[in-house]
């Protein structure tokens, strides 16, 4: 994904600092938001877990470094952040310094993300995999 003739930082490297910034902002904003936000109507009404169910709880645990809680709420999201961000940064380094070892960016990485998300979401709704499902919401946060 070179965007200029001479190698430099590819633009997608911005994803890394942006995501970190978002997580930091989330850490400070969320406690005040948590009480006033209504919980997920889709889940409460139908019991149907959308692919993102538990993502907010997972993010909250993640920014407070409660790794197990985070993984228990939304393992896919946590793994994508923990593994994906360094991976993206590594690929950006490789674009800039072409002698860097390691994987190039390839669209198959994205396919992997999508497919693993779908598999994750489907597994979660099955009874034998309830450990993947988010912890139930408590009425007081």
């Amino acid at each position: 994904m070179l965007t200029e003739d001479k190698p430099g930082w590819p633009r997608f490297v911005l994803v890394v600092p942006l995501t970190i910034l978002l997580l930091v902002v989330f850490r400070f904003i969320y406690p005040s938001l948590a009480g006033s936000m209504p919980s997920c109507p889709l889940l409460s009404l139908t019991g149907f877990q959308c692919p993102g169910c538990g993502g907010t709880r997972a993010a909250d645990a993640l920014v407070h470094f409660r790794w197990i809680d985070a993984l228990g709420n939304h393992a896919w999201f946590v793994l994508v952040i923990l593994i994906g961000l360094p991976l993206i940064f590594w690929m950006a380094l490789k674009e800039k310094y072409s002698t860097f070892p390691g994987p190039r960016f390839h669209q198959n990485w994205l396919w992997f993300c999508l497919v693993s998300l779908i598999i994750f979401a489907v597994l979660r709704s099955m009874e034998s995999f309830q450990w993947l499902a988010p912890d139930p919401i408590k009425s007081e946060n």
Binding site: M1, C50, G52, Q107, E127, I137
Partner: protein
């Protein structure tokens, strides 16, 4: 090198060799808009459009079907094709990648109101990417990505709209009692959870008894 002619004030000047012509260009005697010609060119062209006389390397691509008989082809500027020439495989359209990234984000946020915020760019990027890829002459990858991004964007937006619609409907119907309704639902949900755990325990007990 060929002999160059140029037109100035309705008069044809030349022939000059290329070095002389360049001198005249540099001194301002010949403007970029003046027409020039040499043997081998299909027609007179403004100086600015003649590749081999251009002093910088960022050359304008030949216009409307006239191919200058120039040994220098304009450098490839399409970044996707540039990347392809490095890796030997068709590179991927950036728009298509953006489409799938937004699409995945849309799916992940689909039950919350955020879903449609990611869904809309997913759909837009997806459609734009599909059109662009179909229109490009050089092979560029990413059609599958764009399609997947489209679909995820639609699904995420749909789920999100359902959620929003439900909340709005319930708000209207109960006129502020929504908090109670949500609390009821949460209670039901934790009851469901307990029931699932209970049946799991029963399954485990049955399994142990079987041994």
């Amino acid at each position: 090198m060929g002999e160059w002619y140029y037109g100035k004030g309705g008069q044809q000047e030349g022939p000059f060799d290329e070095a002389t012509l360049r001198q005249r260009v540099a001194s301002g005697q010949v403007n970029p808009t003046d027409l020039v010609w040499r043997e081998g060119m299909a027609e007179w062209l403004p100086l600015s459009q003649v590749a081999e006389l251009s002093s910088s390397s960022s050359v304008v691509a030949p216009s409307s079907g006239v191919v200058p008989a120039s040994p220098y082809a304009p450098p490839e500027t399409n970044p996707a094709v540039v990347a392809a020439s490095y890796t030997g495989a068709p590179a991927t359209s950036g728009l298509a990648i953006a489409s799938l990234v937004f699409g995945i984000l849309a799916l992940v946020s689909s039950c919350m109101y955020v879903g449609i915020i990611f869904g809309i760019p997913a759909v837009i990027c997806g459609h734009m990417a599909m059109k662009k890829i179909a229109g490009l002459q050089n092979p560029v990858g990413g059609k599958g990505l764009a399609l997947a991004g489209l679909i995820c964007g639609y699904i995420g937006s749909l789920l999100s709209l359902v959620t929003i619609g439900f909340v709005v409907f319930v708000l209207n119907a109960t006129d502020g009692g929504i908090q109670k309704i949500i609390e009821n639902m949460e209670r039901q949900q934790s009851e469901n959870q307990e029931r699932i755990e209970e049946s799991q325990r029963q399954v485990e007990d049955a399994g142990e008894n079987a041994h």
